[in-house]
């Protein structure tokens, strides 16, 4: 038997290429060819009427090929004059709004596209952009949730109160349960904006071939099929005329699932109009001000609980800052409102939210997608209950857990995919035991006392989450065994560095009994797999992994059928080891997979020794058609996986921090993670996802924010001032333990793992810093300066006060 690769630490097949700088990203596509380069004029105002755009100065600049404003779009392609699509409509999104590819008379955030320039190179294009003059009538901007709620000014004239959507869900009568509860608390909790900031920004290259009326587009996207459909619609092409290929993608983290970006349409439009390939590569400043942000939400919690800390009623209201537009619908706030519940089962639950417009960059999912906020709200609430009752924080959590024998557990709510929020499996008490052991929860009070005696402040934090992963509707896969015995696998969703080429190959190698090195995986190429959804919601392993497993299984069935025929054996007696099919116990009776592939495809022509085997005078029953009626030539398997609902992964993080008593600097002493994503396909890759997630979470909790001023200017639109952590700011080691509670929803028992690492960060750091400081942390992220201000507010003795008291003692 070939050793099973599923579950083992297989080295990533991608790494050689990536680490040696041989990745091929969208900016590498067609380089060295006569490609034109695009640049975009972006609004310098958060809110303004665009009265006139003067492009005359630019049109005859040497090297400039096109300058387009909104006025030009309809003539180029009628649908281009309409707003961009609202991708995920929802009945409660009564006032959904999307921008135009180029602003139609009004701009609603600094960075909104106004004009599109195509030139010989990006230098000339930027020079040209700098020469376009625009007459604006500046309108009052709405910045921040408070201003949006006050609605003194409106973002969109026809959206009263700046409210895009109001939504409510409940299970039971939460207000009544709270009113009847022995104890109650209310909390106000805030999370600020951040953003994905992948190393590679957005980028698109397009080539139009007029001879065959075909468009090829390369885009740095998380959904090639989505981009393809959007381009076809907006450029008035049939799907069959458009191919979208996703080259290597330097990170996505959610921002590249939103589509089509204006440039994703304008670039192919220009390629067709100008008859030359066109390229747009976003720069970092553009990424800050024109790609999406996330996380900004304000929450109010009312909770009622009993003497044990059991939550009897939970009533949450929150305000979601949607930015200027809602292209991705209400996915983020819906996820917050449902995933907030984590591993707990409150007696009754009500959640209400308003999704508000502001004159800032729009909000679409960023890794975690609303869950970090939900987790922060729930976990802060758990900590507050423990604090109020004087109980251990872990104990209060355990009291509220859904128990292992209660699965499937239906929360009585509707999740982001329009289906019931029903957890498939999990074991939260076991996770809690593991995390407590891993971080040293029970030993911590003694350590804290010991540190306090040395004048050092340490604190421990704990946060639990549940993540709905692997959402539908479907993914598909195509597995093709070549006559060389090598296996080509195609799945339509895209890859941004997760290691799909490795884990998918592991699955196929196991099913087909071939060496890993014989399996080649292609993702995100609509020429190879035109039906697909995309990479988001920790869904690739679950969705494409399952589809690939099913497709490979189909291919195997065909292999065994043909081999059984050739070997005159029974299918059930066959096994495939190292690419050779043989009769179990009679290894001399065998046939190579490649030969089976040859036999699967009856030939008229032979090209080599091997293919002679399949030609018309060698094989086949002359009395029957060469390809049976219900069969196809070739050794292929194709299948789709479309589950009833999401599968729910879970985990717990714990951190020990030290806060400097004088400078309020926050140091991470220990970080521990227990993670349950069902069966692990490749533990090393899962741990890599956790490491990256924790690093990103540290950024979100302690460093990053979008600093908008009241006029709507983003003050820190560069890596100089947007403080993404360096390697020096993230923990040097992360202790990880796994739990494997299989999902009953898919053949491999797997759950998603992509986003998990980042979900509990804000919650776990707030918990630990509160513990170190002795006062609640209700707003994240937190900087040393803010912690210092909180100390003053909470009248914690500061350096001056200490010194003053010392001085008084000395003089008295």
């Amino acid at each position: 038997m070939t050793t099973k690769l599923f579950g083992t630490r297989v080295q990533r097949v991608e790494d050689q290429r990536f680490l040696r700088g041989r990745g091929r990203y969208v900016d590498d596509v067609l380089s060295g060819q006569r490609v034109l380069h695009a640049a975009v004029l972006r609004s310098p105002h958060a809110h303004a009427r665009v009265l006139e755009v003067h492009v005359e100065d630019v049109l005859d600049v040497d090297g400039v090929h096109a300058v387009w404003t909104y006025e030009d779009l309809a003539e180029l392609s009628a649908p281009m004059a309409d707003p961009l699509p609202l991708l995920i409509p929802h009945p409660t999104l009564t006032h959904g709004r999307t921008q135009h590819a180029l602003a139609d008379g009004e701009v609603n955030y600094v960075g909104e596209a106004i004009a599109f320039v195509v030139a010989d190179d990006r230098y000339v294009a930027e020079d040209a952009v700098g020469r376009i003059r625009v007459d604006y009538e500046v309108l009052p901007p709405v910045v921040g949730i408070a201003a949006a709620r006050a609605a003194t000014n409106l973002v969109h004239e026809d959206v009263p109160g700046n409210v895009g959507a109001r939504m409510e869900q409940s299970n039971g009568d939460a207000p009544a349960a709270i009113a009847a509860a022995p104890h109650t608390l209310s909390l106000d909790l805030l999370v600020e904006r951040s953003s994905c900031q992948p190393m590679e920004g957005r980028g698109t290259v397009a080539r139009w071939d007029p001879d065959i009326n075909r468009m090829t587009v390369w885009s740095s996207t998380q959904t090639s099929t989505g981009v393809r459909a959007a381009i076809a619609v907006k450029l008035g092409l049939d799907l069959g005329q458009v191919d979208v290929v996703t080259p290597d993608v330097g990170g996505g983290f959610g921002v590249k699932i939103n589509h089509p970006w204006p440039e994703e349409l304008l670039v192919p439009l220009a390629a067709r109009a100008l008859g030359r390939p066109v390229k747009f590569i976003e720069d970092r400043r553009e990424h800050f001000i024109s790609s999406a942000h996330e996380r900004g939400q304000v929450h109010h919690v009312e909770v009622g609980y009993d003497d044990d800390g059991r939550v009897l009623g939970l009533d949450v209201q929150f305000w979601h800052d949607h930015g200027a537009y809602t292209p991705y619908g209400l996915i983020v706030p819906i996820i917050t409102s449902t995933q907030l519940l984590g591993p707990y089962k409150p007696g009754a639950y009500r959640v209400r939210f308003e999704s508000l417009y502001t004159n800032t960059v729009m909000v679409t999912p960023y890794r975690g997608a609303g869950r970090p906020q939900g987790c922060f709200v729930m976990e802060r609430t758990m900590d507050a209950i423990a604090e109020a009752l004087g109980k251990d924080r872990a104990e209060v959590r355990a009291t509220n857990f859904i128990q292992p024998d209660e699965f499937p557990y239906d929360h009585g709510l509707i999740f982001q995919d329009g289906r019931e929020l029903e957890y498939d499996s999990g074991d939260y008490p076991a996770s809690l035991e593991k995390i407590k052991a891993l971080v040293g929860w029970d030993e911590f009070p003694a350590y804290k006392a010991e540190m306090a005696a040395q004048g050092r402040h340490v604190g421990i934090g704990l946060a639990c989450y549940v993540e709905g992963t692997g959402v539908g509707p479907y993914e598909g896969a195509h597995v093709h065994i070549e006559t060389s015995g090598k296996v080509k696998v195609a799945t339509g969703l895209t890859t941004q560095g997760q290691g799909h080429a490795t884990v998918f190959a592991q699955i196929v190698a196991d099913v087909l009994g071939v060496p890993l090195s014989d399996v080649e995986v292609v993702t995100g190429d609509t020429r190879r797999m035109p039906y697909a959804v995309g990479t988001f919601a920790s869904r690739a392993a679950v969705m494409s992994g399952s589809a690939i497993h099913l497709a490979a299984t189909r291919a195997k069935e065909k292999v065994l059928r043909i081999a059984a025929d050739a070997l005159e054996a029974n299918e059930d007696d066959l096994e495939i080891v190292d690419g050779v099919v043989s009769v179990r116990g009679a290894p001399s009776s065998s046939i190579a997979l490649g030969t089976v592939a040859v036999l699967s495809n009856p030939l008229r022509y032979a090209f080599d020794e091997q293919s002679k085997l399949a030609t018309q005078f060698s094989v086949g029953d002359p009395g029957k058609p060469p390809v049976a009626e219900d069969d196809e030539p070739g050794l292929e398997g194709k299948d789709f996986y479309s589950p009833e609902r999401s599968t729910f992964a879970s985990g717990m993080h714990a951190v020990i921090v030290e806060t400097d008593p004088l400078t309020a600097e926050i140091r991470i002493l220990k970080y521990a993670v227990v993670h349950d994503c069902g069966h692990l396909i490749n533990p090393m890759i899962v741990e890599g996802q956790i490491h990256g997630g924790v690093a990103q979470g540290v950024g979100g909790a302690l460093y990053e924010r979008m600093a908008y001023d009241e006029s709507g200017q983003l003050l820190n639109a560069s890596f100089m001032d947007f403080l993404m952590p360096y390697v020096t700011e993230v923990p040097t080691s992360i202790e990880i333990d796994h739990l494997e509670t299989p999902s009953p929803l898919n053949p491999l028992g797997i759950k998603g793992a992509g986003e998990a690492g980042v979900i509990p960060s804000a919650a776990v750091f707030a918990s630990a810093i509160s513990d170190a400081e002795g006062f609640p942390i209700t707003s994240m992220p937190i900087s040393p300066s803010e912690l210092y201000a909180l100390r003053l507010q909470n009248s914690v003795v500061d350096e001056r006060a200490q010194r003053a008291s010392r001085d008084t003692k000395e003089t008295s």
Binding site: Y703, T728, S783, S785
Partner: protein, 271 residues
């Protein structure tokens, strides 16, 4: 993030470099490029000509003798930091340099470039002021020496003329029996500091230098001030501001904490 068009010249002699500068009022000197190139790419600066001085190897020397340290205009931060002679003659230079940016930037960026760039958040301008050093410059009218206390006239503004090239910076040696200290706090490792403090203690004389809490590098004489009051005494000469990374209050707290630590360290070294 592509610069606007500019002329580029890389002269082979100082005279040619001076002529190239004098010939274009929109010209700028290019040294390590670690401050200038980002400004160009973000189109925050659009000089009409760059005069690259990297073709003048005579400017790359680092000399350290009993009197002090002289650093040539092309000496990279990394080379100065690696010099054992520099560390021996004036340890404050090395202490502070270890806090300048990250290794990759120190490999290209020049110490003199940093000094004439005149950023009040940079380490080396403050060190030059604290030690009472100077900069030698050459211009169409010949050479002159600008003492540190005449070098900084405002935020990002030095008293160098447009047509002058800084040739070297000079840091006097540490006096026997004297001690120095340096510490700063930044949001991330290698970032520009929220507050940085250097100190020199010579007998009863205590002087401290400050960065990021004042418009220009600021030196304060703290001789005779009670230990507990050092920071507050310094704050009378400083003007910590609010920005997105820290409040003025917090920066003032850092002035107090760091002044006490750094003066303590300098005393310990002097003892």
């Amino acid at each position: 993030m592509k610069p606007a068009p500019f002329d580029y010249v890389r002269p082979g002699s100082l005279d040619d470099a001076l002529a190239a500068l004098a010939g274009d009022p929109g010209a700028k000197v290019l040294a390590g490029g670690q401050s200038l190139v980002p400004l160009l790419s973000m189109r925050l600066a659009a000089p009409s000509r760059l005069v690259d001085i990297n073709g003048l190897p005579e400017l790359s020397g680092i000399e350290a003798n009993d009197d002090g340290v002289r650093v040539g205009a092309l000496a990279r931060h990394a080379d100065v930091l690696a010099s054992e002679d520099v560390r021996r003659v004036q340890p404050l230079v090395s202490l502070a340099l270890a806090n300048v940016a990250h290794a990759t930037i120190r490999n290209r960026g020049t110490t003199v470039g940093s000094i004439v760039h005149a950023d009040a958040a940079a380490e080396m301008p403050m060190v030059l002021c604290l030690l009472g050093g100077s900069v030698d410059v050459a211009g169409p009218a010949g050479r002159r020496t600008i003492p540190a206390d005449e070098l900084y006239v405002g935020p990002l503004e030095s008293s160098l003329h447009h047509d002058e090239i800084a040739l070297s910076a000079y840091f006097p040696a540490l006096n026997p029996g004297a001690g120095v200290g340096f510490e700063e706090i930044a949001r991330r490792h290698g970032d520009y500091a929220l507050c940085g403090v250097g100190a020199v203690v010579t007998g009863d004389t205590v002087v401290a230098g400050y960065l990021s809490v004042c418009d220009v590098p600021t030196v304060v004489d703290l001789s005779g001030v009670a230990d507990a009051d050092l920071g507050d005494a310094a704050l009378e000469h400083l003007d910590p501001g609010d920005d997105i990374h820290a409040s003025a209050d917090y920066r003032a707290q850092l002035v107090r904490v760091l002044t006490a630590r750094v003066v303590g360290a300098a005393r310990k070294m002097a003892a």
